[in-house]
Amino acid sequence: MAALKVVRSGSRLLNGFQSLLNNPRKVTCGVAATVTKHPRWYCVSHLSVQERIERKRKAALSGGGQQRIEAQHRRGKLTARERVELLLDPDSFVEYDMFVEHRCSDFGMEADHNKDFTVFGGSLSGAHAQKICKIMDQAMMVGAPVIGLNDSGGARIQEGVESLAGYADIFLRNVMASGVIPQISLIMGPCAGGAVYSPALTDFTFMVKDTSYLFITGPDVVKSVTNEDVTQEELGGAKTHTAVSGVAHKAFENDIDALLNLREFFNFLPLSNKDSAPITECHDPSDRLVPGLDTVVPLETTKAYDMLDIIHGIADEREFFEIMPNYAKNIVVGFARMNGRTVGIVGNQPKVASGCLDINSSVKGARFVRFCDAFNIPIITFVDVPGFLPGTAQEYGGIIRHGAKLLFAFAEATVPKITVITRKAYGGAYDVMSSKHLRGDVNYAWPSAEVAVMGAKGAVQIIFRGKENQAEAEAEYVEKFANPFPAAVRGFVDDIIQPSMTRKRICRDLEVLASKKQANPWKKHANIPL
């Protein structure tokens, strides 16, 4: 569970208690962290208030004391305070509630409050939950993102229902803040039991390789309940969650790597749903031609290519922050900038499973599209999709239900939507991938595009079943349908463009669409097929 809640917002909204960080995009943070209980303090009441303040600050700043700090370091991890310092700009962090234990003690509670591992193993107490809630409320009010650095052993058994209540208080705030301010979780140690649901409710969950774990119950409980032998790493390590379960969105090498990347990632995001996506200074010309794209799609329609080549080609400075790079690799999602403006990119990946849509890729894509839509980030979709993956595994798994999520997400999105069909756009998958019919603002086709109900071979087998001359019919089908014209003459694609012009066109369209206003009918909330 979050040891630290760091919130950021524009500086003009913050005064007095908050510290200003960083850059013009101010980071303001409060923290609920790192307070240690020290019984002897209560014996020194004769000290002046000033002196008591000083001593408590010192004690708090040292976390669990030098020994505990060293123990944390030996595990290859940093203390909460070090982490916060790295995440934020120098001297920009001001801590909230450093003295919270006072109040707790006064109320005679078993005081241990936080999830900083150097202090009391970092399980959650009622007091700590309160600190987190306080920060989150504040963040919601001003419209500032929340970052949670999680390193927690779970609920404090000694505290019983109090700590469960604490969790629920946080969960509620995660849910209330969802779609209002971006919420990011960085898992930096074990995070087990109820604690895992807070990251699960946030927009992005990142992990640190080898030192972080997420699971409902640890290997010991697993062994006693299901008799499975499994290590922590296999059960809930970064590899498991980024490649198998899809719980985490990305993993980093170590604490420092993770925090520095988080800083980078942060710059893609708007402060809240009321702010537009950020625009940074850009040195890459918006009208740059990308000659390499003219040859990226192979001539044989069955040959794979790397969708990332296209994405890197069009993005500012070839920079692409990929989300879930190791999960459902048949779809690529992530953030990039176009002429300095943050965009979300969704692309089918022909290199993996021909870029088909299956359960996992649909869900991965849908969640990403919804994030972008919630936070005013334009969506650029690159389509090369042969269809949905057939088979019992997919049907039994509910591909209909899950595929509908991606369809739903694209259809409901009101942010600028630009679509480029690079090659195949077959069947229902064509509709799903941000088609004109789902309110795509600008839909392009490359000359290599084939918008059709299905590929030539399959189509001919159905239409001319049992007939001879299949090859001839196939050639005719290719001539008629395996090209961008049928869609273009109907206005389902707005233009057929030379691939090398793609960046130029998208940058221009984004400029025009910046003022796009579109609203869905009033509703309490939509009912996405979960």
Binding site: K26, H73, I256, N261, D275, T280, H283, P285, G292, L299
Partner: protein
Amino acid sequence: MASHRVTPALQRVLFTWQHVAWKSRCCAVASHAKYSTVYDPAEKTFDKILIANRGEIACRVMKTCKKMGIKTVAVHSDVDSSAVHVKMADEAVCVGPAPTNKSYLNMDAILEAARQTGAQAVHPGYGFLSENKEFARRLAAHGVTFIGPDTHAIQAMGDKIESKLIAKKAKVNTIPGFDGVVKDAEEAVRIAGEIGYPVMIKASAGGGGKGMRIAWNDEETREGFRFSSQEAASSFGDDRLLIEKFIDNPRHIEIQVLADKHGNALWLNERECSIQRRNQKVVEEAPSTFLDPETRCAMGEQAVSLAKAVQYSSAGTVEFLVDSKKNFYFLEMNTRLQVEHPITECITGLDLVQQMIRVAKGYPLQHRQADIPINGWAIESRVYAEDPYKSFGLPSIGRLSQYQEPVNIPAVRVDSGIQEGSDISIYYDPMISKLVTYGSTRAEALQRMEEALDNYVIRGVTHNIPLLREIITHPRFVSGDISTKFLQEVYPEGFKGHQLSDSERWELLATAVALFVAAQLRSQRFLGNLRVSSSQQEQRRWELSVELEKGVHAVTVSRSGSTYAVDLDGKRVDVSSEWNLASALLPVTVNGTQRTVQCLSRSASGEIDLQYLGTSYKLRVLSKLAAALNKHMPEKVPEDTSSILRSPMPGSVVAVSVKAGDTVAEGQEICVIEAMKMQNSMTAAKTAKVKSVHCNAGDTVGEGDLLVELE
């Protein structure tokens, strides 16, 4: 980046403009767009020429055809259908699938293409069918002119045994050796014993270093015989081998000849091609620093007399080995246009392709021997898609994600057949381009080469620019003290990249740090965000740490304008630049010295890869705090590679010599990988038992694929 990323069409325009501008300053110079020979439109040659080749040489031939007003026909394999040479031609015909024996060596298909398109002549380029007498004969039978010598000369010179006999007869100095085909490995050992070690075993039909091995003892002779015959069979379809005395430490100097069908022949001076790896040329120059006018003249005259002895017509090259006493021995004659012909064009002003076309049409030569000048100095670097850190260059493949030729520098000629987005595939030669620079003196040409290499942007494939830049700046090369052993002697342990001097190290560190700060500052400049305070002062001073090759340095940086003053262990280095962070090229001024550095990558975690002085360096810049905490980060142990054999390059497995359970000795051959027609023996890194074998003969493997595991 903006100004550098231009369309291919625009690039060509720039290229032409470039040379026009340059011509006005230096008219004696022959650059690509400027030859001293005239293109006489009244001189009728051919209406349409088919170029039976691919890549840069096909493009090169087409350029001259266009100047002469001749229509061009490209042939291509299916994977090459969007290649540059195809786009450049007026017509293109697909002649088969990717493997060369089914496409570019497919005579039937090429003859058919010539018939279909009505091409009157065929230029074969180099390699492929260029020295195939059968091809020349069949073309003639179809009434199509072969732009090259006639079949008799190709046959006579194509066979190394016969060519040696003819050379002897023509009073050309030859190397002692066995004038016959060697039957088997044991005979090879016997003959080698007679000639005396070291000996050279080579394919009778060979060229370009393929199918060629040097042996210093009986064991190596047997091994060399096996490799050479396999390579010869796969490259030329002819596994006949011959053996001759190997001249240790020689120079490889060749004479360009040009002859017509009327018995006239000229020598167009020499090319020094001693810098080689595995008998393939890497850097060439014209003229040679080594030859005096007398030797040059003697070599030239022998070359011409050989050409005349076989009634040679067209352009050809007579290769010589030259020992330290300026004794020269005939090696072979290449009856085609050479890869490195541009340097001869630079110093003589002749357009060799034009001359070949004229001669093929039957015109007499335009020049007399006295007309052939040596104007200035030209150097050619062969830029390859290969990893120079592995045996001076093992092939690498991939997609050129970014590609930019340094044609904005004066007196630079780049002959290439690829562009941004092209694929370097396993099917063909991994050459990216020939980078040629010219100067009125050797020093000037070298200086330009340095600059051109620094400004050459190649991303997506591993390339040999680090090695090229080291060669052309090495004191031994600069002084002209070279031989075919140059690379092995200068880099006995293998090429390790540029070795930084202290001051270079400071320069590099400071550049990385300044780039880091410039990027940090930019990432804080948000436009159009309403909730941004305008009162915030931009940071002016940074305390950072920079790491290079395990050395960590504390630095402080302060900024004034676009100049960063970097304080590095008490040394002050000023770095200034425009800091265009999107450009692949980063021109910086470091303590007053101008340089072009390339930023290969920058990551959020402070890693910066810079290409500096040709070599790429991995640096890491961190804040002081992050650097201090970095020591607590766990060290991730890389896998022990001594027990794992991975394919160093993409290719196909020709043979696997071990099976699971075998015990192998360190250095013992485990398997053979063939890539770009070269066979590479993979050997065991330690003595151990074979745990498992993950490849079979005939498999196609990618770079880094697991081949064999040892225990």
